[in-house]
């Protein structure tokens, strides 16, 4: 088991300062960070964008990019000072004593070099092995990481692997010389939830077996809480609170930490609660407020906070930089205290009329055949999906990458055609509709996109962007102006922003513009495809609340597509889980999430990182390997190759989506026991 406190001091960072920009106009991005990592420990560094967390670890490892430099402080590794050390010495330590893993495994690998030599590089660079020995060791390590066909794999190129396998390879690379410290910068952020669970499990195992200390950076408090012994919370270039995980999360003595903890959608939370959102946005390094950098967003700010920046001192079991906390003015445990109260949810509305009914939708993409005369193959992006959406209802569609949820969204909105099946919307069959008729129908269903940077026309002003649906549909000029004003007000954008261009807005503001554009036509249905995935954590809750408010106010039907089960669980009344083009389980959210019947749903629920203080080996419902290829899905039940309960019948026939007569349906020959506890142990590995 991992120890609560580690061995001797491995990494000692004191008052580290890093600046970007010119000599004359420096911008401080790290403003005095101190942290300690002991041997065998797992230290989690938490922060949003602009907090300086990445720059901190890059500075520690001497890998700052051009134009960014260390301006002060000390970094001691095993007692040896790294700041100012010769490049030669740093190269000796890097890859040998200190290993590093980055967020994007695809761009972190040389695309034209095979995987094997890249994993072997640290060994060869530090003279730890010759070519032959290295090759053997690489194969061994990859196999230990759970990579199938390690012997074959070493000869392949990075792009031929899935994200999860690639990240395993980069972790293997970082650890192949058995370093003392592994620095991992958001290693799982780009991965699917079930794959993320696997990687976190690997990290924890490696920490236990090899004794390697880990410095883990993430913006996801849930991820950190699961495996870290100690956590440091960064905001605006400084650590604002640090301490043992449990103490920090149970008694957060800094308003920012408290707010983050509260704004995390809870597994046990009641659906329909408003999320505790932190107002405002994180400051950018070149426009920091006076005094405590968090005070503009803080519910507890006092006069002293505006004037002076607090130091990091001991408060209770942790160290915190907050005047109010140091004076004992913060309530002890996290709970509702004025930062967005929960509103009582109106009783479930009586069943509304059906707004959209999709039956057996299919959509394929073609891939040219392998040899000259082979027939083209099909990717079954959406393979027989049926669902129903009622007026004013929230439906969540959940799945990992490649499951077809985005394609399904586009099919439902008739932005792409379906090969088979039918779609009925507002009483009309719109499956093959085209031309002007289709355009008339479009007024009643509007999309919200994921990427706030790509979803707005960069050449138009905000007011024109929001007005576009109206101008295109020939609304009167006066009406357009009125509606645009109203929409901007509804989404909380000040009138002054109407004449700005998208590049002048922040991510959260742009997403609001996208929402304003979506509601300006008063559609009956909104389809939101991962609308918050690109946003900062503290902004996400704001947007979710906004969407919920609008949905309730205008009685909109909302289809919310996401890979994040936590959000969907909070926001949506009904849920559908997709896997490889099919719906594997659907029904009322509470029912599906507390008593899942399909093994995949259970695995998803178990994989979602939540605030948990149990860092022992949690049964995570770990799945084996990667999702099967959409090009050649397994016969019968598509999930069977990842399913521990698969039997002969699963390979022979595909299970239909059926239920017990209620709205809860699942597609499994051997569904999980309805009475079994929510997180079962049968997947423990």
């Amino acid at each position: 088991m991992t120890q609560e406190r580690g061995g001797e001091m491995l990494l000692d960072v004191r008052d580290l300062q890093v600046a970007a920009g010119t000599e004359r106009q420096p911008v401080a991005v790290v403003r005095g960070v101190s942290l300690q990592v002991r041997a065998g420990e797992i230290f989690g560094l938490l922060g949003e964008s602009g907090s300086g967390k990445s720059m901190t670890v890059l500075a520690i490892n001497g890998l700052l990019p051009a134009g960014v430099r260390v301006t002060g402080g000390s970094v001691k590794f095993n007692g040896e000072e790294l700041i100012g050390a010769s490049r030669r010495r740093l190269s000796q330590l890097r890859g040998d004593r200190i290993g590093m893993v980055f967020q994007d495994s695809l761009t972190s690998l040389n695309p034209i070099m095979r995987i094997g030599p890249q994993v072997a590089e640290p060994l060869l660079l530090h003279g730890k092995a010759n070519q032959r020995q290295a090759r053997l060791l690489v194969g061994e390590r990859l196999r230990a990481m759970g990579m199938p066909d390690a012997r074959e794999a070493v000869r392949r190129y990075p792009h031929e692997f899935s994200g999860g396998m690639r990240q395993r390879a980069t972790i293997a690379t970082a650890l192949i010389t058995t370093p003392q410290l592994l620095i991992a910068d958001e290693p799982t952020t780009a991965l699917d939830v079930t794959v993320q669970a696997q990687i976190l499990d690997i990290c924890q195992r490696l920490n236990e077996e090899l004794g390697v200390a880990i410095l883990l950076i993430s913006h996801d408090l849930g991820v950190l809480s699961e495996i870290c012994t100690t956590i440091g919370v960064m905001y605006a270039g400084r650590i604002v609170q640090t301490g043992p995980t449990r103490a920090l999360l149970e008694h957060p003595s800094h308003p920012y930490t408290r707010a983050l903890v509260e704004s995390m959608p809870r597994a046990a939370g009641t659906r329909g609660d408003r999320l505790h959102a932190i107002g405002g946005e994180p400051p950018s390094p070149d426009a920091l407020p006076e005094g405590c950098k968090f005070h503009p967003r803080c519910a507890f700010a006092i006069a002293r906070c505006v004037a002076h920046e607090p130091d990091l001192v001991v408060v209770g079991d942790t160290r915190s930089a907050c005047w109010v906390a140091q004076a004992g003015g913060l309530p002890l445990s996290a709970g509702g205290d004025g930062v967005g109260d929960a509103r009582p949810q109106p009783a479930a509305a009586a069943a509304q009329e059906v707004l959209l009914a999709a039956v057996e939708l299919r959509r394929y993409f073609t891939v040219p055949g392998e040899t000259l005369f082979a027939r083209p193959r099909h990717v079954h992006a959406v393979d027989g999906v049926s669902l129903v959406i009622h007026r004013g209802e929230t439906l969540g569609i959940v799945g990992e990458s490649g499951c077809g949820k985005s394609t399904l969204a586009r099919c439902l909105m008739r932005l792409i055609d379906v090969e088979a099946g039918s779609i009925e919307f507002m009483g009309r069959d719109i499956t093959r509709l085209g031309g002007d008729e289709l355009r008339r129908i479009r007024r009643h269903m509007q999309p919200i996109f994921q990427d706030p940077y790509a979803s707005l026309n960069p050449r138009l002003r905000v007011s024109d962007i929001v007005a576009e649906p109206l101008t295109v549909n020939d609304f009167a000029a006066a009406e357009i102006t009125a509606r645009v004003q109203e929409a901007l007000d509804l989404v909380g954008l000040g009138r002054g922003l109407a004449s700005r261009f998208p590049h002048q807005l922040s991510g959260g503001q742009r997403q609001r513009v996208g929402i304003a554009r979506a509601i300006v036509l008063r559609p009956a249905l909104m389809v939101a495809d991962e609308p918050i995935s690109s946003l900062d954590l503290s902004i996400q809750a704001q947007i979710i609340n906004l969407m919920r408010d609008l949905q309730q106010r205008f009685d909109l039907a909302l289809v919310f597509i996401s890979h994040d089960l936590r959000i969907v669980r909070q926001l949506c009344a009904r849920i559908a889980v997709m896997f490889l083009g099919k719906v594997v389980e659907s029904g009322p959210t509470e029912e599906v999430c507390t008593r899942p019947r399909h093994p995949y749903t259970r695995a998803l629920l178990a994989s979602v990182p939540e605030l948990s203080f149990d860092r022992g080996r949690r049964t995570r419902g770990l799945l084996e390997g990667d999702p099967p290829s959409p090009l050649s899905p397994p016969s019968g039940c598509r999930f069977r190759t990842r399913c521990a309960l698969a039997r002969q019948r699963c390979a022979e026939s595909e299970p239909p989506l059926a239920g017990d007569g209620t709205a809860h349906r699942w597609a499994c020959h051997f569904p999980l026991d309805a009475e079994a506890p929510a997180l079962a142990g049968e997947f423990a590995r």
Binding site: F449, Q450, N457, G492, L505
Partner: protein, 298 residues
């Protein structure tokens, strides 16, 4: 904090843009180079436009007695074998070369962008046909085709323009098509479609306005290449015919009297400096738009 949606205070500029500007200042000074390029072009344009006023001699007037005089205060660029003032000839030569170059690029741009946007937007068979046709024309060498046209129709400036314009458009097709293909997948284009825009409207009002800046920059820089190509045609005798002054043709006449260097070199200077200037501007613009400014991704 109230329960109402947050009225977010106006943020001055988000962090990314500011850091980018800072890094640009920290890096090099592209603006100086762009200024130099623009200055060169403006100077030549001014000189050429003011030719009737500045040139003291008639470019066609031969004064055999004054032949092959080196540059002096009277004849800034000296005189050629027929005693004509080279400076006047250079300035007047520009009055045809520059507009001709612009004309060629304009035609190439219009044809290329039209074909490219249709190919990129409609895809399918239309795309295949346009691209095959473009490939065919792309393979033909500029000069040889111009020679063929000149051989067939006779050499003149107008025919030179036709010959060049006929093969000038393929690069625009390729670039425009690539841009349109890329932009068509952008989410804001999909949003426009969802809002109910007609396909034609999407192409002309959403996609093309976003593609045009890059294409216009390409065209502006291309003028330099057109000037160079015209001078080559002129050198080969395929452009404006004597006694009309044309930069390339003037270099050709100077070929036989290279010891009197000014006859060949002075007309080559506007070609060299203008092509240089346009390329310099192109580089500066590309650097300014480059997100990898200062070696760091923004």
């Amino acid at each position: 904090m109230t329960d109402a949606p947050m009225a977010v205070p106006a943020v001055s500029l988000p962090s990314r843009s500011r850091l980018r500007l800072l890094a640009a200042a920290a890096g090099r000074m592209p603006n100086a180079e762009m200024a130099v390029g623009v200055a060169i072009i403006l100077v030549w344009a001014a000189l050429i436009a003011a030719a009737p006023v500045i040139a003291k001699f008639d470019p066609l007037r031969q004064q055999i007695a004054l032949r092959l005089q080196p540059p002096s205060a009277v004849h800034l660029f000296g005189t050629d074998q027929l005693g004509r003032d080279v400076f006047a000839r250079v300035l007047y030569g520009g009055r045809e070369s520059l507009p001709a170059a612009v004309a060629v690029v304009a035609v190439g741009f219009l044809v290329g962008v039209s074909l490219g946007s249709v190919a990129g937007y409609c895809r399918g068979i239309v795309d295949d046909v346009v691209m095959r046709f473009t490939d065919m024309v792309l393979g033909f060498p500029l000069i040889v085709l111009a020679m063929a046209v000149a051989a067939a129709l006779g050499a003149s400036l107008a025919h030179g323009i036709v010959a060049l314009a006929a093969v000038w458009w393929p690069p625009y097709v390729r670039v425009c098509r690539a841009l349109v293909l890329d932009l068509s997948n952008k989410e804001y284009v999909v949003a426009s479609r969802a809002a109910g825009r007609r396909p034609a409207g999407i192409l002309f009002r959403v996609i093309l306005p976003n593609a045009l800046p890059a294409l216009l920059v390409m065209a502006a820089i291309d003028i330099g290449r057109a000037i160079l190509s015209f001078s080559i045609l002129g050198f080969l005798g395929l452009g404006a015919q004597p006694p009309q002054p044309e930069w390339g043709a003037m270099v050709a006449t100077g070929a036989t009297v290279m010891d009197d260097w000014w006859v060949a070199t002075c007309p080559a200077m506007p070609v060299l400096t203008l092509a240089f200037a346009f390329n310099l501007i192109g580089d500066s613009i590309r650097d300014a738009l480059d997100p990898w400014v200062g070696g760091r991704r923004q």
